[in-house]
């Protein structure tokens, strides 16, 4: 039996070093510019595909890196310290596109799409949310019907990360009207399927270098074998996928939190007021102590959830990690900006972008309120 340890294994440590080096050398130099220009990091994503970062948990048989969830979370964290937009582009491809396909897909669909996603440079997305259906995902209106050996999909999805650049999307649609969440199915939709159309890119508050669009389905046709799992099991697949993917958003939050702390520390040491660096003032010191402590708590919860991915508690642990890490990261960015004073309110300083970027973490892949519902369900049943 293994002994309790908080140490990362060698593979995890090596990967952290590799991703960190790549992030600092290749991603950081352009982060501010891409944010300003709302420019999607196409070249960087292509390089990440070559490094195996887009199909990290995909089995080797489908050209993936077949790594564990914790290793994946560490990669997301490292990318997020440097560019949260790149991190979400990557995490969405890994955890809400590749993962449900590898877990629930037919051999046919796995062979058709996974190698391309894992190693071929394609990225993917997840089509769950609709204009009228956010937290209440079960109320979706998009429908799909089987015609011969094809699914025919009609409807509209909103706020889809990687919308304009994704090659494959896991789309949730109602296949049996009147059956509530039991009538929803998950289907893989390639972006070149007839009847598929992408809306314009959303103007967001943050994550400006990630791409977010609506998706439109107008009698959109895909092969019958692109159904994931069984018909009517789509809602459960979506929930299982989110349980899994929340660890990624928790890790993204941890990465942002880490960077906010680093920026606060270096600014506090340099900025002189009342004749001394502001780091000498207890008020500033205590903010930094709180940020560091909450970062340790968030990171530990996240790694714990990632390392316990197959336990019966996995859903609760992922929700706890996502809830805590995202809210802690928001507090950390708020405090880091406060430490920067007026400079922090100017976009010349990195903390201004982080403050915008972090805001989404308590909202997407399940709001904080939804995480609390998930956790409470485990506690009171």
């Amino acid at each position: 039996m293994s002994e309790l340890t908080f140490e990362l294994n060698e593979e995890q440590q090596l990967l952290r070093e590799e991703v960190r080096r790549f992030a600092v050398e290749r991603i950081r130099p352009g982060t501010a510019e891409r944010d300003k220009n709302h420019e999607f990091p196409k070249d960087i994503i292509a390089e990440m595909a070559e490094m195996g970062l887009l199909g990290m948990m995909v089995p080797e048989a489908y050209d993936g890196a077949e790594m564990d969830v914790l290793t994946y979370a560490i990669a997301v964290e490292e990318l997020a310290t440097v560019c949260p937009s790149v991190a979400v582009t990557m995490s969405v491809t890994n955890s809400v596109c590749c993962w449900p396909i590898q877990e629930f897909g037919s051999d046919e669909v796995k062979e058709a799409v996974l190698p391309e996603l894992a190693a071929g440079g394609a990225i993917g997305g997840f089509g769950l949310t609709e204009p009228g259906s956010g937290s209440d995902a079960g109320s979706m209106k998009t429908v799909a019907r089987l015609e011969g050996d094809e699914w025919v999909i009609d409807g509209e999805k909103a706020w889809i990360t990687n919308g304009a650049y994704g090659k494959y999307f896991v789309v949730l649609a109602r296949t049996s009207p009147g059956k509530g969440t039991q009538g929803i199915s998950a289907i893989v939709v390639p972006s070149d399927a007839p009847g598929f159309r992408v809306g314009g890119s959303e103007e967001k508050m943050g994550l400006k270098a990630s791409n977010t669009t609506a998706l439109y389905f107008d009698s959109c046709r895909v092969p019958a074998s692109y159904l994931l799992g069984e018909e009517g099991k789509g809602f459960r697949i979506a929930m299982a996928t989110l349980d899994h993917s929340r660890v990624g958003i928790a890790a993204q939050s941890v990465g942002i939190h880490q960077r906010a702390l680093e920026l606060a520390v270096s600014y506090a040491k340099e900025r002189v007021q009342f004749g001394v660096p502001i780091a000498k003032h207890q008020a500033i010191q205590f903010k930094i102590a709180s940020m560091a402590t909450e970062l340790a708590a968030a990171r530990t919860l996240t790694y714990y959830a990632a390392s316990r991915g197959h336990s019966p508690e996995a859903g609760r642990l992922a929700s706890q990690a996502k809830l805590y890490a995202s809210e802690a990261a928001n507090r950390a960015c708020w405090e880091a900006l406060q430490i920067h004073g007026g400079n922090g309110f100017c976009e010349d300083y990195e903390i201004a972008r982080l403050y915008r970027d972090v805001r989404i973490t308590t909202i997407y892949e399940g709001t904080s309120e939804m995480q609390r519902m998930v956790i409470a369900r485990h506690l009171t049943r």
Binding site: M1, S2, E3, L4, T5, F6, E7, L8, N9, Q12, L70, L261, V265, A268, K269, A279, Q282, Q285, F286, I288, A289, S290, A292, T293, E294, A296, A297, A298, T300, L301, Y303, Y304, S307, R308, R316, L317, S319, Q320, L323, Y324, E369, Q371, R372, M373, V374, I375, A376, R377, L379, T380
Partner: protein, 381 residues
């Protein structure tokens, strides 16, 4: 990264939980209300090896690891915060420093009976004018032949009314500041040693807190713990370990309150249904469980770092800061969920709420923890 208890640790947890539920819990309310030191419980705990959990068997202890020690303090505190701190002090503030700084004669004479539960120890550092600023203590130790003669007063000494042995910090030369501080092993029956009456406190009211007075108290030089002038180092390194104990105590108190809150929320009906079906209550419970997990993980991480002979000052301070403040929030919500009943002495949560308060104060206030953490992050990170 592997965070699960091994078989031995699980067995210990089950055994201590049974002892806590069957022996400690039935008298916890009376212990608190009347301020009765739970002598008989501590005797039984000693027989079970809970008074020297991490002390090697050759010195009278149970020979277990630091995680096991955390489990013991958590499980006991889950039913009685007073008993939790009594054990925490004996283990980590008394046995630990003798183990680390004592010679074999001192271990034979003092550690063996303390670890085995035949004697009880206390830790006498704080003085009326020296709390957070421990180095400002005024108790003196004058060398006289083969003895030291001690004079001074200590306050807020946990276990003070019942201790057989005190570790006393005194200065051999006040002009030397913290470099004059020296630690002594003091048998309570020695001439010139006296303790005051039990202090009636807001919480942990059964922990025998009192004042100590030393009047021309003659201590053989052989009872000096460590070198002359080494006492401040002894105190600080001891408190690093003690903080892991208090973090565990805070986790235990919060766990006890949380369990009562879940139970009550499921049973209590208002508006025709259990209050656990209301979202406000569900979200309280979700936050409580999330913060509890985070605190326990931080505490185990500090324990694991200590076990692996690494510097653990930062981890212990973060665990103590986070866990104590978590316990305050969690017990507060437990009272809130209980409504009016939570304010009534018949219910346990009001005791948990009062007991949690001290964890933010003793063995270094939250403010001291933040100073330690900020120093680490700003200057040594």
């Amino acid at each position: 990264m592997y965070i699960q208890l091994n078989d031995e640790q699980k067995m210990l947890r089950d055994e201590v939980r049974r002892f806590a539920d069957e022996v400690v819990k039935p008298i916890a309310k009376e212990t608190d209300e009347k301020g009765i030191f739970p002598t008989d419980v501590i005797r039984q705990a000693g027989e079970m090896g809970l008074t020297g959990v991490a002390v090697p068997e050759e010195w009278g202890g149970a020979g277990m690891d630091v995680i096991s020690y955390c489990i013991v303090v958590e499980e006991i505190s889950r039913v009685c915060g007073s008993t939790g701190v009594i054990l925490s002090v004996n283990n980590s503030l008394v046995c630990d420093p003798i183990m680390k700084f004592g010679n074999d004669e001192q271990k034979e004479l003092f550690l063996k009976p303390l670890a085995a539960g035949e004697k009880l120890g206390c830790f006498a550092l704080t003085e009326p004018g020296a709390g957070s600023d421990a180095a400002a203590l005024r108790t003196t130790a004058r060398r006289d032949g083969d003895d030291y003669v001690l004079n001074g007063n200590k306050v807020f000494i946990t276990n003070g009314t019942h201790a057989d042995v005190a570790i006393v910090f005194a200065s051999v030369d006040l002009a030397l500041g913290h470099k004059g501080i020296t630690a002594f092993l003091v048998p309570a029956e020695i001439d010139g040693y006296s303790h005051g009456i039990h202090e009636y406190k807001l919480g942990v009211n059964g922990s025998g807190t009192t004042e100590l007075a030393f009047e021309d108290m003659r201590i053989p030089a052989a009872f000096r713990l460590g070198e002359e002038g080494e006492g401040f180092k002894v105190a600080m390194s001891t408190l690093d370990g003690g903080r892991i104990g208090i973090a565990s105590q805070a986790v235990g108190i919060a766990q006890g309150a949380f369990e009562e809150a879940v139970q009550y929320a499921k049973e209590r009906e208002q508006f025709g249904k259990p209050i656990s079906s209301f979202q406000a209550i569900q979200h309280y419970l979700a936050d409580m469980s999330t913060e509890l997990d985070a605190a326990r993980l931080l505490t185990w991480k500090a324990a694991w770092t200590k076990m692996n002979r690494k510097r653990f000052t930062l981890e212990a301070a973060q665990a103590k800061l986070y866990s104590s403040e978590m316990a305050q929030r969690v017990t507060n919500l437990a009272v809130q969920i209980h409504g009016g009943y939570g304010y009534i002495r018949e219910y346990n949560v009001e005791r948990y709420f009062r007991d949690a308060r001290i964890t933010e104060i003793y063995e270094g206030t939250s403010e001291i923890q933040k100073m330690v953490i900020a120093n680490w992050v700003l200057n040594q990170g």
